[in-house]
Amino acid sequence: MQVLYFAWMRERIGHATEQVDPGEAATARELIELLKPRSEGHALAFENLKSVRCAVDQEMGDLDMPIAGAREVAFFPPMTGG
């Protein structure tokens, strides 16, 4: 599964994409638990989940969105466009 990061999450983690085996993770929130131990940057990026949004296969959702069968999960901070 491809995992994408944007904005300060990308900066903290150090790269924009990575290949991840979701294992038993059924939701974006469970996937985060797998990602956090990967590096200090990951732990920092996922420090405060109130500031983390996600999209599964480019569909916006909340962290409890199921990820089964997804090709791509994206994590990003709240949007600040406009």
Partner: protein, 161 residues
């Protein structure tokens, strides 16, 4: 859910671009040859300097190419479903922008002014919280990502139903 905005022929309503835009041209294109449009509301968003006299700051706008356009198209489709609109246009710029530069244009045309006003305000409120853009402000002392404003969530929430 399939992105309703991906209907063929819809795409021209939404642009995500580095280039500036001309509000008069865009408005003229929206109403050209039509005699049933009574009201056009044009919202333009501009880069503000963070503090007075800090015009050395540059705003960098990151976005998610492809997904941004589709999210903006969804907002347009939603606005068209809620109000009787004769035309809609959304342009959002990305890349580095300086204080005073235009960031975003939302145009809503309708027979009557209330629909145009409401649709434009709605699109801006949704765009702020749903379109994948992230602002970073860079000045001589370094760069920082712009925080969300709670008032943006409140503004978007008033359209929920």
């Amino acid at each position: 859910m399939e992105a309703p905005g991906s209907t063929p022929g819809q795409t021209w309503k939404v642009s995500v671009q580095a280039e500036d835009f001309d509000i008069a041209d865009e408005q003229a294109r929206l109403t050209a040859g039509r005699h049933d449009v009574g009201a056009v509301v044009a919202f333009t968003g501009l880069v503000r300097e963070i503090a007075e006299g800090r015009s050395d700051q540059v705003m960098e706008l990151e976005h998610w190419p492809g997904v941004t356009e589709r999210e903006l198209e969804k907002i347009v489709v939603e606005a068209e479903a809620r109000w009787p609109l004769s035309g809609v246009r959304v342009i959002h710029r990305h890349g580095p922008l300086s204080p005073g530069e235009r960031i975003v244009l939302v145009l809503a045309a309708s027979r009557h002014r209330q629909a145009a006003f409401e649709a434009a305000a709605f699109m801006m409120d949704y765009l702020k919280t749903r379109a994948p853009f992230w602002k970073k402000e860079a000045g001589p002392e370094g760069a920082q990502w712009v925080d969300t404003r709670d008032s943006d969530d409140t503004a978007a929430a008033r359209w929920e139903r």
